[in-house]
Symmetry: C2
Subunit: 146 residues, 2 copies
């Protein structure tokens, strides 16, 4: 399997082990991870630190040229917030662990020219299925549902 | 003028006085400000704390029902990241100070049923025009442009 997706999964597992939402992400620039992170809603009481946002925040302030030559790996199909962030920074390619437990804004991304690849990785699906079963109300909060 | 837009402008001015990007936001739930903030790219070295994101983060974790009965005030037309966040949380109404210096994803928001109102406030325009003239490279970084 892709090493970078494996790193995103490690982040998701870290989040799960912290009692959080098991979604992880890494951002890769020219073959090197420049930011990694996982959903920290629970850990930091955050409404905006989804896995992708945490990875981008941990990458720090970057010029446009860096984002435009990067690939974002995420264990779950990106929600509207994270998809919007991908569009803001012009990240050209997104590798998605799975979109079975949640379908994000993949169509919007594609319509704006972002290359979207869905792996449907078993471990990603398993992590989310376990979590949603254990803490459905927390998951609903994270995706803005009742 | 709308008191809440005035509060968003106060946030933008605070940001400008801190040497940051002068965009401010407040989120109002049932007539009461529950979160306020301004762009903190410079102040916190952040890639994700746009004014709207800062206000939402400062509002803390909220159930979907709160967002769905809130109005977001922002001094500038919301970029793809902030627009995506509005969609994620189902915020039904956005009041925008101006869209003259930057046009965000207003069409996307409207196409998803969000009520969008643009005030074209002189103070909002003046703050951005001054800032863009003074620090064009910082502004480009904030909107992912070269």
């Amino acid at each position: 399997m892709d090493t970078f997706l494996q790193e995103a999964i490690k982040e998701a597992e870290k989040g799960y082990n912290e009692g959080g939402i098991p979604i992880g992400s890494v951002i890769v620039h020219e073959g090197k991870i420049i930011g990694r992170g996982h959903n920290r809603r629970v850990q930091k009481g955050s409404a905006i630190l989804h896995g992708e946002m945490d990875a981008l925040e941990n990458a720090g302030r970057q010029p446009a040229s860096v984002y435009k030559n990067s690939v974002l790996y995420t264990t779950l199909s990106p929600c509207p917030m994270c998809s919007g962030t991908i569009l803001l920074y012009g990240i050209p390619k997104v590798i998605i662990g799975e979109n079975k437990t949640f379908m994000g804004e993949e169509e919007l991304l594609k319509s704006r020219g972002v290359q979207v690849e869905v792996v449907n990785n078993e471990r990603c699906i398993e992590l989310m299925e376990t979590f949603i079963k254990e803490k459905p109300e927390l998951w609903n909060e994270d995706i803005g549902e009742e």
